[in-house]
Symmetry: C2
Subunit: 132 residues, 2 copies
DNA sequence: TAACACTATGTAATAATATAACATTTACAT
DNA sequence: ATGTAAATGTTATATTATTACATAGTGTTA
């Protein structure tokens, strides 16, 4: 068990919003949604996002510039992330597969670099969209 | 052998620049470098980049918003890309490993989605930087 | 408790990345 | 020559992210 991180006020507001969202959220959409709570500037959002990513509570979907809450309770730090992204409905789900992550970290370890993390994004049509 | 794509004027100018570069190039840096050749607007650059990505001549490094020429002659289309990225010197190299790509496309095929492509980015220290 | 270090916050301005909208031109197949 | 798709040119604007600087809270230790 990792040490439990206490979130600051802004971090908590922003995490709660992302966590409740059914879809990845973009920074300026987050900003718009938290303005009533007193968070008025982009930087306040980006700072909270940076911290939340750092401690693994959220992940950035790089290809979409968007953020989702970690869907994998054991993923306390964002050092090995994998996602399926639907190119039609833009649904994103986090993949949590031990074999896959073992395979990839082994691959990285044997590659000659001093490996610190990876990010993998699969694209295609989700189950719903492919049956349409 | 795939059909050989003929590049248009702007596409060729921009591809040549990226291909000669020793490092990933960002869109506005590309723009700056091709202004003397008559390409004056961001959109001209982005349109060429889009096309070059589509036909697999270059790849976008999503975590860096930068572009590199494909280093894998057999990679005629950007449907399965993998990179090592050095967090110190920002060197990026394309990984071309048949086992890895087989493993990942099999994984995707068996995941329930209608898989179309993936992108994988490893982060860490490259050989040079780790020995410093 | 005072001093210190560290983290977080507030605010304004601006940088960097990317697209929309519209007009025109080129390539090339019928 | 006509139609059509791809590419280009141009202006304006949208979106994403950071710099710089000032202030406030939190916890540790002298
Ligand atoms: Zn996670
Ligand atoms: Zn879908
Ligand atoms: Zn390639
Ligand atoms: Zn390096």
């Amino acid at each position: 068990m990792q040490k439990q991180q206490t979130l600051s006020r802004n971090q908590k507001i922003i995490f709660d919003l992302i966590d409740k969202s059914q879809e990845p959220m973009k920074a300026y959409s987050i900003l718009f949604n938290v303005q009533k709570k007193g968070i008025k500037a982009p930087l306040q959002v980006y700072r909270a996002l940076d911290k939340l990513v750092e401690i693994g509570k959220i992940h950035k979907i790089e290809s979409r510039n968007a953020f989702i809450a970690c869907q994998n309770s054991s993923c306390q730090i964002s050092k090995a992330t994998a996602f399926s992204i639907c190119e039609s409905c833009e649904n994103v789900s986090e993949i949590s597969n031990t074999k896959l992550s073992k395979y990839l970290s082994n691959f990285a370890e044997s590659s000659g670099m001093k490996y610190s993390k990876y990010n993998l994004e699969f694209f295609g049509l989700c189950k719903k969209c492919k049956s349409k």
